[in-house]
């Protein structure tokens, strides 16, 4: 159970980073950490005691294979994470282009 607790803690660190940091890139990094923590949680859930990778090899019959479903979910989620990061960073670059800074405090045009 300890790895799972640690993974949830990692999630909270990412959340803290997104909520507290005032730099656009740091916020993106916080979000990435959050995503990694969710991948970690999913992968941990799928693990089976003494399990082998869920791939059949010719001539070998494995008894316990780990759960392939969470792995499939993580695979999907990793690509989604990459996609969000790319879009977020390009918005950040464009903001830098307009304001010349990544500092949230200096960007405030909207009233909030």
């Amino acid at each position: 159970m300890i790895p799972l607790l640690l993974a949830f803690f990692l999630f909270l660190i990412g959340l803290y980073g997104t909520a507290v940091k005032r730099n656009l890139i740091k916020i993106a990094i916080g979000l990435s950490i959050m995503e990694y923590a969710t991948f970690l949680i999913l992968a941990l859930i799928g693990y089976r005691e003494g399990g082998k990778p869920p791939i059949m090899v010719k001539g070998i019959q494995e008894k316990t294979l780990v759960d392939p479903l969470p792995q499939a979910l993580v695979l999907t989620a990793i690509v989604i994470g990459l996609a969000t990061t790319a879009l977020l960073l390009s918005i950040a670059v464009r903001i830098y282009h307009k304001y010349g800074t990544f500092d949230v405090n200096e960007i405030r045009k909207l009233k909030g």
Binding site: P3, K21, I29, I55, P68, A72, I78, V79, L82, T101
Partner: protein, 177 residues
Amino acid sequence: MLIILCGLIILMILGAFVALGAASLLSSAVLLGIIGFSLSAVFLILQAPDLAIVQIVVETLSLVIFIAVILKTTSEDATVRARARLPFLIIAGAFVVLFMLAVGWALGSMPPFGWPSLRMAGPYLTPEALPRTTGAANFVTAVVLDFRGYDTLGEATVLFTAVMGVLAVLRRIGRKH
């Protein structure tokens, strides 16, 4: 195995703290890369080679994107010295403590680590059943592309959407006047 696993996750946690606190964005990005590569090592320990491969290539790529963005702009984080206000820190701390308590409390009623219930995934894993249904030796690919192929179409669409979004956001001129 459990010790190595916990060690790697603790490394990730420490990396996360340093990455969020670093004054140089470049070192933050590199630390994020370290977290990502540790994650792929964790995937290997958890018997998920597919994930490890994808995580390594995706992490390299996102590291390249981060560094490209930082080199094009600035690597200095001027905000790092600003202290968060005390009431905010208290609220954040209380939230963390409550959340972790809730997690710890909820863990008691979950299936234990290493013994998932396999309600949906059980039928995938019966060695006789799967090859006959999808014909793939790699169960993860079978799940990703066949049992849950519809999700993967969505995933491909997400990537497509994000690329369209990047192209839309980075247009030279957005509005006609």
